[in-house]
Structures are given as C-alpha cells and as structure tokens.
C-alpha cells in the first residue's frame, strides 16, 4: 500500500479511525507519565526545582518545529500530487503547532525570570520562536480568510513554502543580530556534558508523549476538516441542483 492512498478521504477516515484509539491511549499514557515522572525528579544543583520545566519546554519546542516541517511536507504533497487530505492535514496541524510554540515561549519566559532575571530577552533562540509563531498565525489567518477551499489550499501551500525559507533565513539573520543567553541543544552534546540520566529518561518519555499527542490531535482535526468539507460539498451539490 502506498502512502498516497491515505489521501483518499474514505480510506483515510477508515484507517485513521482504526489508528486513533491507539494514538489517544499512547499519547495519554506517555504524556501523563512523562510529566509526572519529570515533576518528581530531584532538584538540579544549579537550577533548583525549575529544571522540572524542561519536561514541557523541550518537547513543546521540538514539536513546534517538527509540526511546521510536517506542514511543509503536506503542502508540497498537495501542491505536487494534489491529494486533498494532505492539504487538510496541513490546515489541521497549524493550530496545534501554534499552541506548541506558545507553550515553548510561555515556559521559556517563565523560566527566564528566575534564571536570567528577565521575562524576555532578545536571544536568537527565543526570537526565532517568536518569528515561527508569527508564521503560524499568518498561515492560520490565510486559511480562514479565503472562502474557496481549493484556492485556500493552494495559497496557503505557497505561503508555507515561502514562509519556510524565510523562517530559516530569519533564524540566521537573528543569530547575526544578537548572540544570546540560551543554552545549546544538550541532547546531542558530547557524552561528558550530557544531561544526567535522571532527567534524560523522563524527558524522552514526555517527548514521545508530546509526539503522540500531536498525532492524535492531527488525526482528529483532519477528520473534523474532512467532515466539514463533506458537509460543504453536499450543500454545494444541493445548491447547484
């Protein structure tokens, strides 16, 4: 079975209906246990109990970026292969991505207050997330402003394409503009500096949880979009008859 077949709405409804319970259960299990485990970890000698924030902050930040990449892929599939469900999936993903970005920003800001002594600093990492959020908002606004779904899918697809390039470009521009305070990615850093296992395993778990949560939300939201489109399609057919 090729992945293109998922674009057939009926097939998608059937397959997603079968996957959905598992995704929901997995998401609930991993997110809840990851966050609870994370919440129960001991204090860091430097950051005190604020280290517990990492279990929300990092998965959310990761998903914020990944969801945009997923939207880019879905938009490309729509623009090239014209699979309608693909366009709807991109539309369905955007609000989840925007919320993930907001969570990363909010937890970061709250964390920054004790750590850096300020709610907000124009650090490159933070700033590029703010820009990513702007792109999410623009993308969502464009979807809701264009009435004709075919045009909306095409236009948002192009916007996603151009926006991706500019989000990346902005990131480098921002790095040039200001060197920041934020720590680098510690999951990939050399063995010696790695985050201790006490924090690492609950972090992995809640990252998996956030990912599954996204999958579950994406499936439900895409199904919602399909139903809405079907309703509109039935009404349009009636109006024309």
């Amino acid at each position: 079975m090729s992945i293109w077949e998922y674009a057939n709405p009926v097939k998608f409804m059937r397959t997603s209906g079968a996957i959905l319970p598992w995704a929901v259960a997995g998401a609930a299990l991993c997110t809840v246990s990851g966050l609870v485990w994370g919440f129960l970890t001991p204090e860091d000698y430097k950051q005190g109990s604020t280290v517990k924030i990492v279990f929300i902050h990092v998965p959310a930040a990761m998903m914020a970026i990944n969801i945009w990449v997923m939207m880019l892929v879905a938009s490309l599939i729509w623009l090239i292969r014209r699979h309608h469900v693909s366009a709807l999936a991109a539309k369905a993903a955007a609000p989840v991505g925007a919320v993930m970005t907001l969570i990363a920003l909010a937890t970061g800001a709250i964390w920054g207050q004790p750590m850096w002594g300020t709610w907000w600093e124009w650090d490159p990492r933070l700033t590029s997330f703010l820009i990513l959020f702007l792109f999410y908002v623009g993308y969502i606004a464009l979807w809701s402003a264009v009435e004709d779904p075919d045009s909306a899918a095409d236009l948002t697809g192009w916007l996603c394409l151009v926006g991706s390039v500019f989000a990346l470009l902005s990131r480098y521009a921002v790095l040039f503009w200001n060197q920041g305070l934020h720590q680098g990615a510690s999951l990939s850093v050399a063995e010696g500096e790695r985050m201790s296992a006490v924090y690492r395993y609950p972090l992995y778990l809640s990252m998996l949880g956030f990912f599954l949560l996204f999958v579950a939300l994406l499936l439900i939201r895409t199904r919602t979009e399909i139903r809405r489109r079907r309703l509109a399609a039935l009404q349009a057919r009636e109006a024309r008859a």
């Binding site: 604020t50 969570i103 709250i110 939300l217 139903r227």
Partner: protein, 47 residues
C-alpha cells in the same frame, strides 16, 4: 507533597500555563469534531 523550594511559583506557573494551553487545544479539537460530526449527520439524514 513534593518540595519545590523557592521556585515553586515558577514551576507551578509553567506547568499551569502549559496544561491550560494543552487542555485548550484538546477541548477545542474534540468540540469542533463533535460539532462537525453532528452537522454532517443532520445533513446526511435530511439530504
């Protein structure tokens, strides 16, 4: 009850805001889905 030390407010605020946002999208997702399902069923019954 676990001890959060002097950063209790910070940690709780971070978890609180995040959970509120998560619950927000989840609730919106489910509500919209239910609404769409109901509207579609009504249409398919009538039409």
């Amino acid at each position: 009850m676990i001890e959060l030390g002097k950063y209790a407010g910070t940690v709780l605020a971070a978890y609180g805001v995040s959970l509120a946002l998560l619950v927000g999208v989840i609730w919106q997702t489910l509500a919209a889905n239910a609404r769409a399902r109901r509207a579609l069923e009504a249409q398919e019954k009538n039409g």
